[in-house]
Symmetry: C2
Subunit: 270 residues, 2 copies
Amino acid sequence: MTVMTPIAARRPRAESGRDARLLARAGFDGNTAGLAPGYVQGNLAILPREQAADFLRFCTLNPKPCPVIGVSEPGDPRIPMLGEDLDIRTDLPRYRVWRDGELVDEPADITALWREDLVAFVLGCSFSFEEALLAAGVPLRHIACGCNVAMWRTTIACAPAGPFAGPMVVSMRPFRAADAIRAIQITSRFPAVHGAPVHLGDPRLIGIEDLARPHYGDALPVEPDEIPVFWACGVTPQAAIAASRVPFAITHAPGSMLVTDLLNAQLAAF
Amino acid sequence: MTVMTPIAARRPRAESGRDARLLARAGFDGNTAGLAPGYVQGNLAILPREQAADFLRFCTLNPKPCPVIGVSEPGDPRIPMLGEDLDIRTDLPRYRVWRDGELVDEPADITALWREDLVAFVLGCSFSFEEALLAAGVPLRHIACGCNVAMWRTTIACAPAGPFAGPMVVSMRPFRAADAIRAIQITSRFPAVHGAPVHLGDPRLIGIEDLARPHYGDALPVEPDEIPVFWACGVTPQAAIAASRVPFAITHAPGSMLVTDLLNAQLAAF
């Protein structure tokens, strides 16, 4: 008799943000979704000091897609506000290295690339508000299906700052009306992780032509009694960095996030 | 040369809830909308003690259409929690008297009808959240047009209590998506005056066949880039009282509300 090993059994366990970072440091190379439940996960962007000020200004001007939850000192790979022992060079499972806007490498460690002029930015991610939605009994179809959320570039322009500019990227989650209203209430409490939606209803009003063809992630059906709800997405700053063609940048690889010591519940604004 | 007198100049002024009640007591017979800006206005329902307990249970079970903000002692026409000198028999411009579910009179004073067994209920009204929406720069078309809000009976059933039952009545306000999201956030702060919407988007999902033909109030266009948003409405308890065919009840006449000493800002939950 053959017994299939459930996927969950093959995944490592992490009870805390620190557990998850130690796993990454020890070579864990998977998706961080579901690791260390309750802990805030973040998008990563590392830029040389020369572009870092413009990038921070870009985030400040576009807080919904780019909510900054941590910044390092230039040259310092630690971000103590997000984790006592955190080392940004080793604590994510996988990174992306960008040169002149081109993706050139996807290493599991960036120690060899670290420089005295690099500044690390950590931006809030929708995992936090999705946990709050599920805790409130609001269903999320992409999670029920084991898919990635569907994302699109929109006609909503980000406010530009230096070389950083471009369209807002949004993620879409379909809901029945009562759940859409609850989802707006719940995500409004979490401005540090994209906050309230930026749009709902007719996707063409923000330049999305076809809900069946996302620009990133997986297509999901929207049922006749559902309404699509759109949130600003952390892909926005990554796309702006790529489009800027800055000489050098490092980001997280998709799904390979920084897991912090912050609790999602600590981010609730009210 | 003829100068038209603006309508506003013909309306009496009321700086406070007490001013508005004194106007009604002195014979003012108009709509209370716009009187005493900043002060909470309420829907009125008066029932004999024999039905009052069921009615209060109906309100408790259906808090979105029937948010209770004040109750009198049986036989006592005062409600000090809503106004020191308030006399519910004289302080509304006009009342409706119901016998066996039929509207039998619309007097300006109910002193002659008062009885030792009557209990007065005051329910929150959408004027309060509309003031908060306008203060936040969220446009309200029916107010810009000088119309009544459009209302419909829906297929959402109220939870019944004794003789009181029936459909939830909703009011509709059209918004562009970003304003709809803001409107949900803002009205969520005001559970005592209907709170967050109960529906948005496709009206057929709650049994509304034609947005151009409201059951109460005035039809308003919904533009192609707008989404209709539906709130539970204070007409719900009035309709339930009429449908119950209770032997005797008194309500406010449409638009002729009780103006209280409470400030709208005091009702904000957060």
